[in-house]
Amino acid sequence: MSIWEYANPKRFMQVSGALLPWLVGLTLLTLIVGLVWGFFFTGDDYRQGSTVKIIYLHVPAALMAINAWMMMLAASLIWLVRRHHVSALAARAAAPIGLTMTLIALATGAIWGQPMWGTWWAWDPRLTSFLILFLFYLGYIALWEAIETPDTAADLTSVLCIVGSVFAVLSRYAVNFWNQGLHQGASLSLDKEENVSDVFFFPLLVCIAGFVLLFVTLVFLRTRTEIRQRRLDALEARERLA
């Protein structure tokens, strides 16, 4: 029995249905622990004051926004190569979640930027490439919505996702070249000297784990919804035609 068994819609529904309650519980637990720990049980930063606590939303959301696109890319490739409907629907399900994560990162970033840099928005490379990512999500979702035949939509959006990924990476590089930024470099790498102090670091890790779980849970939920929607459409079409 291969792993592709789970790509069967029926099988996926059974397994995900059994898994979901656990996932929801675990997600809630991690998120609550992480956020409460971060917001109430860490001190203020000596430079940034209490605004530093936005980090617990901002960083996980930003990470997930990027990784959601990665997951969509993987799912698109699987669909194109093996034509498993669940993976196409999973990609479709993930897009609005990724979009929301991008929005959260942008919004929290803007709110954070006001006290830190004195402006809501700056044309910093990282910020800018995030804005472009936002546009990619918008285009991807709009294309899904615009096409009526499900398999056609899955195929076309997959092609878009692949080509878009290449251009997204290219944009990231181009933007770097175009403007030097204000934004922090990566500071979570384990081997770096200037890591965030441990006080912030551990709750942040828990929050990131929480967001990962949240993402997985939401993708499961939405994929199930998409599958049901698809069945409903098929039924309705037949009903109408009968």
Binding site: N8, P9, K10, R11, H85, E148, T149, P150, D151, I227, R230, R231, D233, A234, L235, A237, R238, E239, L241, A242
Partner: protein
Amino acid sequence: MLTVDALSCARGGLAVLHGVGFVLNPGEVLILRGPNGIGKTTLLRTVAGLQPPVAGRIDAPAEGLAYAAHADGLKAQMTVVENLEFWSAIFGGPPIDEALRAFDLVGLRSRLAQNLSAGQKRRLGLARLLVTGRPVWILDEPTVSLDRASVALFADAVRAHCAAGGSALIATHIDLGLQAEVLDLTPFRAEGAPGEASPRPRADAPTDPFDDEAFL
């Protein structure tokens, strides 16, 4: 020349025809009949290779098909001759004079396609078939808006094509006066397809648990 076996085809993700099979030999004409909406257009597009079959097999000679559909593929801003020459060049087919003559277009040679009447446009669309030089013609309601004389021209063209070893698959509602076999599509209507009375089993209770029919 063209063999179709147990073919199922779908439109808009919904099965339309099921288990269609026929053989088309050189020199033969096969006429597809069936009420509006049975799936003639869908079948012809599938055979022409424009959409993948849901199931079944299509055996056609590589690069042997010429397809003519509801739309004629004419450029309104090009003249009759330019339109034909373009398709002749693309298909590497024979020169266009013969085609112009066969469909009585000589007098319209240098008219822009947008200034043709409905029937003249259609004649030009059919003349295109002759310049493809392809042996198998796949035609979807070719005689729409043609008058009697033009229908006769068309029938002559098909006869000449068959005499030269070609063959044609034609979906039509009218009588073309051709000697041809007729395939009625009504028995091949897919279960649960448009117009079918008995609904197929509900989607939430498929017999095989691993086969989800919403994803056909």
